[in-house]
């Protein structure tokens, strides 16, 4: 225990970044903005659908017309609570909406409705795995807030264009503790958070559409020393860029500190093309948001019984599912992790594994099916082979009806032509030959035709593979390899 504590204080050696004057530790905390999966906006009845013609998904509330009043969407509250439960977090039965005041053309209200002092969700945690080691990342809070509209700057040399379709869409801001110690951990955290949100169905996690994006706070320090000054990298919108931005920002800060400089706390942008972060021209007095409770909204009060109801209907989450897959199907931690990364994959696997050997099913799903889907750029949802078909194939392998090699041919047929696995095997004569008489005949023929090889194999038993290959070839891959091996050994006397 003592060692673990010391280890923690010093920082894990493998995570340290070597500078010119010694090692540095990078400290990362994140604010993830996740768009709540809902049909309508947080405080209006306008649609949240992506895209749409400019200003088509906008109500007079979202455009902040005088006299319009916000009315909260009940489902958005439920989604935030579900997410909180999924993060094993404290649900605050009383929370408050505040106004965060600033001016920007895509924020017609002149303030964002957010939650400041009393968020809907308090402290929780997320388990991550990096290089086979697991770690708990603390969640500080989750609050509900409005998204802003969108400004487009490249349509005109002198003007910006504003579309309010996103204005008022519900976001969950999920704030982590500064518990992350490397770019890999930062990536693992967002990946895991995304998986949890997708399992819960509270955010679709689509980073390309900006439905999940992260503000990444980075600072560096000498191991064991107090936290350094942090910089916030805004709106990083892919897992890869999150990793790159942490690396780039840590190196920049280390460079400054080693040259005797100091870090200015500021907001920065990650420039993916150059692979570096750069300062955002700091908004004047940007940090004076003058929060105060929104007088248009009463406090949000939840009933414990309502929260309990949501908890009861929560789906099985990735960590629990992984543990179950390892226990029930005997899968390795790695295979189980691959399968539970997406709920659809996990469901597909379970359908394949119904009535078959779990490990064998996992092999076929991960190595053959996922491999092929990846290669052809397809998703599990559009897989040409259904779970029932792959399950049928696995059963045929398991009960010895077909050999592993023939199973790959069968997989190919299922992929390109479809059909019922058992029927195909019957019709096309793909059954494995376990009839020892037939195999013996084949073995005798090979031995008779290759007297020189027979001499060689007696001196060098590893030559046996050549004989096995010949017999398999002659049987069109249908001979049972174990039977071939046994009979060959007996006849060759090795």
């Amino acid at each position: 225990m003592q060692d673990t504590v010391k280890e923690k204080a010093k920082g894990k050696a493998s995570n340290l970044i070597a500078g010119a004057t010694g090692d540095w530790e990078v400290i990362v905390g994140m604010e993830v903005h996740a768009q709540v999966a809902s049909k309508a906006k947080l405080f209006s009845g306008a649609s949240t659908a992506f895209g749409g013609e400019p200003n088509d998904h906008v109500s007079l509330v979202d455009a902040a017309m005088p006299g319009m009043l916000p009315v909260i969407n009940e489902e958005c509250i439920a989604q935030a609570v579900r997410t909180g439960l999924g993060l094993k977090a404290k649900i605050n039965l009383d929370s408050v909406f505040d106004r965060k005041n600033y001016f920007y053309p895509d924020l017609p209200q002149g303030y964002q409705i957010s939650q400041y002092k009393s968020p809907i969700v308090g402290e929780g945690e997320v388990e991550i795995d990096v290089d086979g080691e697991s770690k708990t990342v603390g969640i500080e809070r989750l609050h509900l807030e409005q998204d802003a509209g969108k400004s487009i700057h490249d349509q005109h040399p002198d003007y910006s264009y504003v579309d309010l379709n996103r204005s008022g869409v519900a976001l969950m801001e999920i704030v982590s503790r500064p518990d992350l110690r490397s770019s890999k951990e930062a990536q693992a955290y967002v990946t895991k958070l995304r998986t949890i949100l997708r399992y819960l169905g509270t955010c679709d996690g689509d980073m390309e559409k900006g439905n999940l994006r992260a503000d990444v706070n980075v600072s560096v320090r000498r191991p064991g020393e107090p936290l350094g000054t942090r910089c916030e990298i805004k709106n990083v919108n892919s897992i890869r860029f999150i990793g790159q931005s942490v690396e780039a920002e840590a190196r920049r800060q280390i460079g400054i500190l080693e040259d005797g400089g100091k870090i200015d706390q500021e907001t920065r942008l990650f420039d993916a093309a150059k692979g570096e972060t750069r300062s955002m021209r700091s908004k004047e007095e940007a940090h004076d948001y003058r929060y105060f409770p929104d007088p248009d909204l009463l406090p949000l009060e939840l009933q414990q019984s309502w929260v309990d109801g949501l908890a009861k209907d929560l789906p099985e989450l990735p960590d629990e599912k992984r543990a179950r897959f390892m226990k029930v199907y005997g899968l390795s931690a790695y295979d189980a992790s691959v399968l539970v990364a997406e709920r659809e994959s996990a469901d597909f696997f379970e359908a394949v594994a119904k009535g078959t050997d779990g490990k064998l099913a996992a092999n076929w799903v991960i190595n053959e099916l996922f491999g092929r889907l990846n290669k052809e750029g397809k998703e599990i949802a559009t897989s040409p082979i259904a779970a029932a078909q792959l399950g049928g194939l696995v059963r045929l392998v398991q009960d010895g009806t077909i050999s592993g090699k023939i199973a790959k041919d069968l997989f190919e047929i299922l992929w390109t032509e479809g059909g019922d696995p058992a029927e195909i095997v019957e019709k096309r004569g793909m059954r494995q030959v376990t009839d020892t008489g037939a195999i013996e005949a084949a073995v005798d023929a090979i031995i008779a035709a290759n007297p020189d090889k027979v001499e060689q194999v007696k001196a060098k038993p590893s030559m046996l593979g050549w004989f096995v290959g010949q017999v398999m070839k002659q049987s069109g891959g249908k001979a049972n390899p174990q039977a071939v091996n046994d009979i060959l050994k007996a006849k060759l006397g090795i």
Binding site: P54, V58, S59, Y161, P293
Partner: protein
């Protein structure tokens, strides 16, 4: 609490209100007066009194998650000084 001119200018700037030098001087006195008046509340002991969050005995109204609004871009931009293709057009703002 005394409000100085720099504070007055800062508040005006945050609220995007343009004020003249004379107005700034006048507001210095007015804002200080308002704050002094509100500060009388400090005389009341509020230890162990939870903050009052509402005066009416009402609960927060909620709506169902249904799309009931939107599809009125013409109305939304009707009063905008400048528009194009249903976008609001504003002086260039770019980071």
């Amino acid at each position: 609490m005394q409000v100085d001119e720099a504070t007055v200018r800062r508040i005006a700037r945050l609220a995007r209100i343009r004020i003249t030098d004379e107005e700034a001087k006048a507001l210095e006195g007015e804002l200080s007066g308002i704050l002094a008046w509100v500060e009388q509340l400090d005389e009341v002991n509020t230890d162990n009194v939870p903050p009052m969050t509402r005066v009416a005995d009402m609960k927060l109204k909620k709506r169902a998650d249904e799309v009931t609004d939107g599809e009125k871009a013409d109305d939304i931009i009707a009063n905008a000084p400048m528009t194009e293709d249903h976008y609001f057009v504003v002086p260039k703002v770019v980071e």
